[in-house]
């Protein structure tokens, strides 16, 4: 099956029911995508499938056929940061950082859909992403900063 990840075309031979998470991590080496729970409870594995945030642990390889996948490392890079990543750096959101790939992918998806979210909309969109370190106050602030930045351009 064929799919595109962070702009790179791939052709893989895997089971239809292999979670996209493991296709990305183990078959293709996209390690920015994280395994946390495997049952869509934590959001650490969040990627964009054709621009929309999905939990890659509950998205099957068969459903990703022909899709454009974006991981955190395709969203932006240290040299060309996405506004969300820039805000995450400015607010020094991360503690252990393990959930943050998923948090940022969720936030980027929210802002693509809702450029100026209210506090309630932020809480609603982000509450599926667990942070065991408890960085929620900084995530909230960073989402707002990113929204402001995106609205400038």
């Amino acid at each position: 099956m064929k799919l595109t990840v962070d702009g790179n075309p791939h052709d893989v031979d895997v089971e239809e029911d292999m979670p996209l998470l493991w296709l990305l991590r183990d078959e293709l080496g996209y390690k920015g995508v994280k395994y946390g729970c495997g049952v869509a409870q934590c959001g650490a594995c969040t990627v964009h499938l054709d621009g929309v945030a999905v939990r890659s642990c509950q998205t099957w390889a068969g459903d990703a056929e022909g899709a454009e996948i974006t991981t955190i490392e395709g969203l932006g890079t240290p040299d060309a940061l996405h506004a969300v990543q820039e805000a995450w750096i400015a607010h020094q959101v991360a503690q252990c950082g393990y959930c943050q790939s998923g948090q940022m992918m969720q936030a980027a998806s929210l802002l693509a859909e809702t450029p100026a979210p209210t506090d309630d909309q932020i809480d609603e969109a982000m509450s599926g992403n667990l942070c065991r370190c408890g960085t929620y106050p900084r995530i909230r602030a960073a989402v707002k900063t990113a929204a402001a930045k995106l609205s400038e351009v």
């Binding site: 395994y35 946390g36 729970c37 495997g38 934590c42 950082g97 393990y98 509450s127 408890g134 960085t135």
Partner: protein, 749 residues
């Protein structure tokens, strides 16, 4: 220095940094710590003086031996070295180095001494010194107990100072000018005429000189880095998905493994049928490990799927199968046979609390459950076993234990067990245990020459965690004349230290003060005041969970105090202040009173609670506001003040404290591990949720710097949080919550 030039040509692997040539400085002359591990791996022609600062032609590497599980330990250690070294944070890289006795944890020793942190008597300080010698002797390189900052506060700054002054001496030797007239900045020695010589240029010459000695550390008013917000060294990597954790590490030729061991932890495996699993795609091997079975495959998910397809016959649990028996064991422990410590016994409690008029006596019982650590990165380790060498890549807080245990397992000399410490996706104390490293080694021993990465399924991780202790407390107190007159608190729990250190083959003598930590050492002058620790029998295996004994006892002690204060009809904050004799502790209470505007009470349907707990030597006060909504309790605001002596990085401090409060509140309201048929009933986050963003309150943090002792803040924000919440719920609803998780008794939004 004597070994300069005698070391065989080898690459010095420090984390992901390969140092090709260089020199290492440390606090060697400050307190001779033992052999310098950096000496073993330097290249020919190089030299290493001491263990914390490594300089070569291409740059400066600071060795930060305390592990980073997200608390910012690498950055804060680097800040302390860089402050005195006169380098800026953008000029250094950090490495955890290699496990070595030289990196033993001094501050952990102080914490283990059986004295209140407020006790600065000769006896207390002498004992702390003896414990220090024990830690040094055993080379206990351990990250925990909120000790990274206090442990490094002097020795890391001194490591920087010694290196800086020695580099000046080298510049003097080269130029013939007086080092006393030289200055340093941004990794350069500046000569009197303004000429700049880079440290990297001087390093090898400096290595030939006896290190500078008799140095004084700079006064904090002169600090450039410490005390000022810094960009964490890992923040860009963590904000771009480019940071690689242990779970991401994959050496060439790696195979992916997972294990299933008896969910009745410590129980045996009677047998298994892996016929189906072996036939599944990608499965390479099904191998026995202690207490279970491992699947090795070409992909993690294939290993997971195959492991789930194995039919296994498990033996019985070596502890009571049902929770009732666990609670009963605690309940049966409140007697002299189980008395473990009674280090707080002021006044005459027997007389005051047990011979008091009716209507003045308050009695209550409290409970706290087992809790999993559940860091978001599931347990994992990669191990390569060769004929006479083992390499381990793992996020561990106890690299020396890992080394020793793998040496025992493999029979390979401990010097040839190479532990490469990886960044952790959280820990909260979980990675003080080393089951996953031992199991990965057992698998790798059966596949010599192949690197094996063992990853736990989340379900394996949560059900095989060594949880926080279960605990129970019983209080009896008396109020008189509107004041707290007597407080008698008994706490029963199994010994965490005995369970945890027992797995390392250590016996811990004497009482386990974690049984009463967060209660017995509170700086209160209640006229009749007693705290008794009762050691319950060993139940399920337990381990240190963020703030350890204080995580349960801070809740018990302060909620009971609150009950007494309410019975006395006193103001919760004023009465705590009146009882508090320790000035820095009074100051944290005064700070939260001001921050929360305590005197102005929240309106109808709302409630405000205050709590105080000193743990790990840090007095912390927290005020919480809640609203009783039709859908349940909503936590609105939290104000926290903590006395830490010095705040090293204000941004990291705030983040850590806010996060720790959220961590504590989440577990307090909805998390527990319960056993049924000997097995943990909660196996994933749907049943062990913690706080979600929509539930997270606004949290305001203040770090106070009134005390002379510098303390760490990884844990002390946890113990008062649940108590402040319970006290706030009482204020809002009149309902007193005496058990965690609180959602057993009241709903939350």
């Amino acid at each position: 220095m004597g070994r300069a030039g005698t070391i065989a040509r080898r690459t010095f692997m420090v984390g992901s940094v390969a140092v090709m040539s260089g020199v290492a400085f440390g606090y060697y002359m400050y307190r001779k710590p033992g052999p310098n591990p950096l000496l073993d791996d330097l290249q020919e022609g190089e030299a290493a003086l001491t263990p914390y600062v490594l300089i070569n032609a291409s740059g400066i590497t600071l060795i930060t031996p305390r592990a980073d599980s997200g608390q910012g330990a690498y950055s804060v250690q680097a800040m302390m070295i860089a402050e005195e070294l006169d380098v800026d944070m953008d000029q250094v890289s950090v490495s955890p180095g290699v496990p070595s006795p030289v990196y033993y944890n001094t501050a952990l020793a102080a914490e283990s001494a059986p004295f209140r942190p407020t006790d600065r008597s000769t006896m207390a300080n002498t004992t702390r010194g003896v414990m220090d010698a024990v830690m040094k002797f055993t080379g206990m390189q351990l990250t925990g107990g909120s000790t990274t900052v206090p442990d490094g506060y002097e020795k890391l700054r001194m490591a920087g100072a010694v290196a800086r002054e020695t580099l000046k001496l080298a510049a003097g030797k080269r130029t013939g000018q007086d080092p006393k007239k030289m200055t340093t900045e941004r990794a350069h020695v500046i000569l009197p005429d303004g000429t700049r010589i880079a440290y990297t240029d001087l390093a090898v010459e400096a290595a030939q000189i006896e290190p500078a000695d008799h140095l004084a550390l700079r006064h904090h008013s002169k600090w450039r880095i410490m005390g000022t917000p810094q960009q964490r060294l890992d923040i860009v990597a963590k904000s771009t998905g480019t940071l690689r954790y242990g779970i991401d590490f994959e050496p060439e030729g790696v195979v992916h493994a997972t294990v299933r061991t008896n969910p009745r932890k410590g129980g045996v495996m009677n047998g298994y049928d892996a016929t189906n699993a072996k036939a599944m795609r990608g499965v390479k091997q099904v191998l026995p490990v202690t207490g279970g079975v491992a699947v090795v495959a070409d992909n993690t998910w294939r290993a997971f799927a195959a492991a789930e397809a194995i039919d296994i016959d498990w033996g019985a649990a070596p502890y009571p199968a049902e929770m009732d028996a666990h609670w009963q064991a605690l309940s049966d422990s409140f007697n002299d046979d189980h008395l473990d410590s009674r280090k707080r016994d002021d006044g005459d409690v027997a007389d005051a609390a047990y011979d008091a008029p009716e209507g003045t006596v308050v009695e209550a019982e409290y409970r706290a459950p087992y809790l999993a650590h559940a860091p978001l990165e599931p347990s994992n380790a990669t191990v390569l076993v060769g004929d006479d060498r083992v390499d381990v890549w793992s996020g561990t807080q106890v690299p020396r234990f890992v080394q020793a245990n793998i040496a025992k397992l493999t029979g390979i000399n401990v010097d040839n067990i190479h532990v490469h410490v990886q960044m952790m996706g959280g820990s909260f104390g979980q990675r003080l245990e080393d089951d996953v490293e031992r199991q990965a080694t057992e698998i790798a021993m059966q596949m010599k020459g192949t690197p094996v990465k063992l990853t736990y399924r989340r379900e394996e991780d949560m059900t095989h965690d060594h949880p926080r202790q279960i605990a129970m407390a019983r209080g009896r107190g008396v109020v008189k004349d509107g004041k707290v007159h007597a407080l008698d608190l008994g706490i029963a729990m199994p010994s965490v230290m005995s369970s945890q250190m027992g797995r390392q083959g250590w016996t811990v003598p004497g009482p386990d003060l974690q049984i009463v930590a967060g209660a017995w050492e509170q700086p209160l002058s209640i006229p009749n005041y007693r705290v008794s620790g009762y050691r319950a029998p060993e139940l399920a295996p337990i381990s240190s969970w963020r703030s350890v004994g204080a995580s349960t006892n801070g809740f018990f002690h302060d909620v009971f105090l609150d009950e007494l204060i309410h019975a006395a009809g006193a103001d919760p904050l004023e009465e705590r202040l009146r009882l508090m004799w320790h000035k820095p502790s009074r100051q944290v209470l005064e700070a939260v009173a001001e921050m929360s505007d305590w005197a102005t009470r929240p309106g109808e349907g709302r409630g405000r609670g205050v709590a105080f707990c000193t743990s790990f030597g840090v007095p912390v006060a927290e005020v919480i506001d809640v609203t009783a909504t039709p859908d349940g309790i909503r936590i609105d605001n939290v104000w926290v003040a903590a006395e830490v002596g010095r705040v090293i990085d204000p941004v990291n401090f705030e983040n850590l404290v806010q996060g720790g409060v959220i961590f504590a509140l989440g577990h307090a309201i909805n998390c527990e591990i319960t056993y049924a048929d000997g097995m943990a009933e909660q196996d994933n986050f749907y049943a062990f949720e913690g706080l979600r963003m929509r539930q997270a309150p606004v949290i305001e943090v203040r770090g106070l710097e009134n005390d002379i002792h510098v303390r760490g803040m990884g844990e002390p924000m946890v113990p008062p949080a649940a108590a402040a919440l319970s006290n706030a719920i009482f204020a809002a609803t009149g309902q007193r919550i005496r058990e965690m998780p609180m959602n057993r008794h009241i709903d939350f939004v």
